[in-house]
Symmetry: C2
Subunit: 299 residues, 2 copies
């Protein structure tokens, strides 16, 4: 049995290493990207070039996309020379972008009518996870469609979780972003308060990390927040975009989000203040501005 | 050298096992409690009885209090027959109650003027931690005063962290409650949203627990939240009281708390709805009511 061919559209910071992992796993990969340099590198690594998304889809059995937002995904899939033009009945489409669950559902409907099997499969784990293939992949779609593409997904990620029908992968990614960002916001409020009350910030973090407040963000971000180090792991501007997806989805599905809504406003302030290229933990700077202080170690 | 005598005021759910641990560690303990049954049990275990807080203080070198709120602590310490009447210069006072940092600071000032060394030392770890001596104790006060009472604190808790000057223990406890409650609130919003969008709630939790959203609450409370099991580990009414302390302290110290403020309102709703005796993770029920749904496993 010959390996199925993967069409890959969107060879950016995440997509390029994911496509390379597919090559390494033995899949023929036909790549397309808006700017051609990333395709040149893919070809050097043994991949092939497609001039348009439609061509990548025509030459492949399954198309994987990794694109910045809902609008770009819609354009690349349904627009002129888009993926949909190249897909045929029996092909598969897997979108690893983080987009609105409602858009994921609509794509599944439209491509489904063509006889294409569709999975929404947003990823988390960052550039490092994309390079070393340790991404967590949250999948929405039919059981049998996931089973058919599990080999492709497992070439790119370590954990593949089936979260429900079409859109459920995007819903899960939004849940992840709700918890991540609100935890960072809560830690920001706690640290600025502790600073205003003259407590020892590092001791505060040490004292509360081991109990019911314990979390990844307290272990991995509070120390750098106290140092005022906001070197990006995950851009605040991306956090803002993803929170916008979450609150839009809250509106679409009728889910109230009182705290998430406030956190969304904090990231809006951060991006509007020109801090969008800082790490998402840099949201503490907005609370510091509101308090007119800085939660910092005394050097 | 003979062991110092500990006066213990407030032999409730937390205080009684803490006093027993002091006895087990070899400290003579003179106990007082508003209702006498707990003192009877302490005496059976080898402790002694004091008729008033003042008497407990008179007969002890260090007084430990474990009381429900700021008002009770002020009354028991500064009121008629209170601890202050029995304290002398050179004695020590250690309050393990969770109270307003500003009240802790005032007590430290007033007792300090009498030559008494004062520590605020609120605890976390619950009844189980009080029984097995594994409490986390967050301490505010002077270095040398903590050094002098470390033996007493280590008889009751496993982790003793010095968080700064007077009040810093209470500030740290408030930080703990900010992060705990806001994380539960964020998880509640995420789960109700996932339910409304028809995702598989257990898969959502599994998919996001391993990454940047990972936290104690997701591991230890999300599964029972999905089951609709709100058997109390920590009463929502206590969470509300502690959040009130946090937001009051935010006002006192000039620390903005946009997300904490919203979470405080959610716990207010919970208590006002008659759900104060549920676990603090039961805050999801308020979001469910707002959404007119229930985030539950399909049985």
């Amino acid at each position: 049995m010959t390996s199925k061919t993967v069409g890959f559209v969107g060879l950016g910071i995440m997509g390029e290493p994911m496509a390379n992992n597919l090559l390494d796993a033995g899949f023929p990969v036909v790549g397309h990207n808006r700017s051609p340099e990333a395709v040149d590198r893919l070809v050097e690594n043994g991949g092939e070039r497609a001039e348009t998304p439609a061509e990548a889809a025509e030459r492949a059995d399954v198309v994987v996309t990794c694109l910045p937002d809902s609008e770009v995904v819609e354009e690349v899939v349904l627009g002129e020379d888009g993926v949909a033009e190249g897909l045929s009945a029996g092909d598969a489409f897997v979108d690893t972008s983080t987009i609105k669950p409602t858009v994921a559902e609509r794509l599944a409907d439209e491509l489904g009518e063509m006889g294409v099997s569709v999975l929404d499969a947003p990823i988390s784990g960052g550039e490092e996870g994309a390079i070393d293939g340790s991404l967590s992949i949250m999948v929405g779609g039919e059981d049998e469609d996931l089973a058919a593409q599990r080999d492709v997904l497992e070439a790119m990620g370590e954990t593949v979780t089936h979260c429900g029908g079409h859109g459920a992968g995007q819903v899960t990614k939004a849940c992840n972003q709700i918890v991540v960002s609100t935890t960072l916001q809560a830690i920001s409020e706690a640290l600025v308060f502790a600073q205003q009350a003259d407590a020892d910030l590092e001791a505060v973090v040490e004292a509360i990390s081991g109990g019911a407040a314990g979390c990844w963000a307290l272990d991995n971000r509070a120390p750098s927040m106290i140092r005022g180090d906001f070197e990006p792991g995950f851009f605040a501007s991306y956090q803002y975009k993803d929170l916008r997806i979450a609150t839009d989805a809250g509106q679409a599905y009728g889910a109230p989000m009182p705290v998430t809504g406030v956190t969304h406003e904090m990231y809006k302030s951060m991006v509007e203040s020109g801090l969008g290229d800082d790490d998402n933990s840099g949201v503490i700077q907005i609370i510091e501005r509101l308090a007119d202080t800085e939660a910092r170690i005394d050097e």
